[in-house]
């Protein structure tokens, strides 16, 4: 089948989405042209904007997106990236503040390990409940998110509260615990590269190793995998849970280490949930997650510019962002269907 039909369908959907968004903006009294220009410029207007804003915003989405993609590959429905992210951030901050290691070559790896371990630990509860008791992980991972959010709230108001005791946040982490900037005069930090490295590693793991094959086999069908008699599904499910939680935990600590330098309530605007869209849009392919995370990062950076330059209020921006995400997912699904028909013909 020729590539023309999907392209035409995508273009049609794009035009339709833009038309709906433009109509909404016009109804609200905002100029669609100015708004779209601002959206695009805010995300891609210059190298600096792209690197310092879009890629910086893409980083937590990239890591959580990879966490979700890996879990979903094994049919482990981890809805808990948000909570694992908070657990990772808290553990990283605690180690950074309380561990007396002055050298970045010691402290940074220690904090990264702590973040990953805490994320994995957070995911181990739903993993145990699923493998031991058969409790569905959709509910348990989701509920663990709330536990993590309240734990974060409690800790920054109590034990981890800054020394001067004024605001509900931790002290600033020491310089040795901060991820270095990747490019001079930008805000892009090493965390983005870590994300890319994990994406490549996951891709190699899934496609080139027996462990990755098992994850894909379990994802395709747990029963078939077990009936084949070659391996048991339980350890594979455990591995998917723990690795997914560890990556999500890293996402939280990397955001603190690279950007905020403090932990506080409301660290994440829901990256762990957006990550599900990021992963699904990438069709759970680790390398494609890099691209979809950048697309979502661009949308988010562009949305902020839409407020600044076009005067579109935040609620409108959020609505339009959601509309674009829906449209992209719909187009993606449409292309899948078209592709299947094409291959049958």
């Amino acid at each position: 089948m020729s590539g023309l039909r999907p392209a035409a369908a995508a273009t049609a959907a794009l035009v339709a989405t833009l038309a709906i968004a433009a109509a909404l903006l016009a109804v609200g009294g905002y100029s669609p042209g100015v708004a779209f220009t601002a959206l695009a410029r805010g995300a891609f207007g210059s190298w600096d904007l792209f690197v310092s804003f879009t890629l910086v915003r893409a980083t937590p989405l990239l890591l959580t997106g990879l966490a979700v993609a890996l879990a979903f590959r094994a049919h482990v429905w981890n809805i808990g990236a948000e909570g694992q992210l908070h657990a990772g951030a808290l553990a990283g901050v605690a180690v950074a503040i309380f561990l007396p290691l002055a050298h970045p070559l010691l402290l940074l790896p220690a904090t990264l390990l702590a973040g990953a371990a805490a994320g994995a630990l957070w995911a181990s509860v739903p993993a145990a409940m699923k493998t031991r008791m058969g409790v569905g992980e959709v509910i348990t991972t989701l509920l663990m998110n709330f536990v993590a959010l309240f734990l974060a709230q409690f800790l920054v108001q109590g034990p981890l509260r800054e020394a001067r005791g004024v605001f509900n946040q931790t002290d600033e982490i020491p310089a040795a615990a901060r991820l270095p900037t990747l490019l001079p005069d930008t805000r892009l930090h090493l965390g983005f590269l870590i994300g890319i490295a994990i994406a490549v590693a996951l891709w190699l793991y899934l496609t080139r190793t027996p462990g990755g094959f098992r994850i894909r086999a379990v994802g395709a069908s747990v029963r078939a995998a077990e009936v084949s008699g070659r391996f048991r599904a339980e350890p594979v499910i455990w591995r998917a849970f723990l690795a997914s939680g560890a990556i999500a935990g890293l996402a939280g600590w990397i955001q603190v280490s690279g950007i905020t330098h403090r932990m506080y309530e409301g660290l994440s605007p829901g990256w762990g949930y957006t990550a599900i869209a990021v992963a699904l849009l990438a069709r759970l392919h680790p390398l494609a997650v890099v691209l979809t995370a950048i697309v979502f990062g661009a949308l988010s950076a562009g949305g902020a510019a839409m407020q600044r330059e076009a005067g579109v209020p935040d609620v409108w921006v959020r609505g339009i962002e959601a509309l674009v995400i829906l449209a992209v997912l719909a187009v993606d699904k449409g292309l899948q269907v078209l592709g299947r028909r094409g291959s049958r013909a």
């Binding site: 605001f167 902020a304 992209v328």
Partner: protein
């Protein structure tokens, strides 16, 4: 692999118009505002937005506003505005202090004004609203109208500026009614409507009949809780905070402890234009920046005698003869590390 990337043409189509072109430089002197909540809250953020519009209308300056979602966006927003040529950028809330300090060092020619800020420097100007003075007067009114002798306070996040208004409110209550019980709840959020309503309802159940809040968008639900207890035949009054909220719920509000944020923002912008802006900026009752405003729709709720006592206290505070308890959260002035 190709299969997975089929949507790429779609994405590039979205982004095609983007490439090329610099961000539009602000035309002439421009003023920007950052808020961490919606400007439709009829309170703290709304007042700031009105101030921004006043600056645009009165001084003819170009204005822009962004609502930031997470603290990670603070730096980004400051940088964006500074790069776009904005000369005065308001960060409306203590939470902007750290990011404003960083931006202040990176952009020495730009002035950053931080509402309830704590760390002044050459070009970072904390604006300290003496809201506790107005809150004290509101407390006096609450002390005068409570019959049960139980007064409630529902706060957002327990930060010094919010806590300070409650300490002053409580002192005001006690000044009128020494034996009063004062309940205090912080719900941990400025916008969580259901938590605010629950907290208010709990205090009402404990017998409170005069309640003040210090939340943002959640205040609508706070007023609703008072309205609902009225429907059960009880008498209860609410007090507005941060902005004159008397018209937000005229049926249940006895008065508001209000900051005239637009006025202060306009003064700040004028001083910035004249090159006379220096921080930190303290502004309270004496400057007419804050006040207790009885609700004109509910005349008579606050007894005339109490109104006279409140008036006396107002004069004493303005003349610095009456010290209202407060929390000082200003840090010592920072040196100029760059030495420039």
């Amino acid at each position: 692999m190709n299969r997975h990337l089929r949507w790429l043409p779609f994405v590039s189509l979205v982004l095609a118009p983007a490439c090329g072109g610099d961000a539009p430089a602000a035309d002439g002197p421009s003023v920007a505002l950052l808020t961490s909540g919606p400007v439709s809250d009829a309170g703290w953020h709304a007042g700031a937005y009105e101030g921004l519009q006043l600056i645009g209308d009165s001084l003819g300056l170009h204005i822009s506003h962004q609502q930031t979602r997470t603290p990670a966006e603070f730096d980004e927003a400051f940088i964006s505005y500074a790069e776009a040529g904005y000369g005065l950028i308001f960060g409306h809330g203590f939470e902007y202090q750290d990011a404003a300090s960083r931006a202040g060092e990176a952009y020495p020619d730009v002035t950053f004004a931080v509402s309830s800020g704590s760390r002044p420097s050459e070009n970072v100007v904390p604006i300290i609203f003496g809201l506790h003075e107005a809150s004290y007067l509101a407390g006096m009114a609450a002390g005068a109208i409570t019959r049960s002798g139980i007064v409630g306070m529902v706060g957002g996040v327990e930060i010094p500026s919010a806590k300070g208004t409650f300490i002053a409110f409580e002192a005001g209550v006690k000044a009128m009614r020494e034996d009063a019980t004062v309940l205090e709840t912080f719900i941990g959020s400025w916008d969580d409507a259901s938590a605010a309503k629950e907290a208010a309802a709990a205090q009402l159940r404990q017998g409170a009949d005069a309640l003040i809040h210090n939340v943002d968008a959640a205040s609508f639900a706070f007023f609703q809780a008072v309205r609902e207890v009225r429907e059960d035949g009880r008498t209860a009054w609410a007090f507005g905070m941060n902005r004159d909220q008397n018209d937000v719920a005229p049926d249940v509000i006895a008065g508001s402890a209000a900051i005239d944020i637009p006025k202060i923002f306009l003064q700040t912008a004028r001083a910035w234009q004249d090159g006379t802006l220096e921080g930190p900026l303290f502004t309270g009752l004496a400057a007419g920046a804050v006040d207790f405003v009885p609700n004109p729709a509910q005349r008579g709720v606050i007894p005339p005698l109490a109104l006279r006592q409140i008036e006396e206290a107002r004069l004493l505070i303005a003349e610095r003869k009456l010290e209202v308890p407060r929390i000082d959260f200003l840090e010592p002035a920072a040196g100029n590390p760059s030495g420039s």
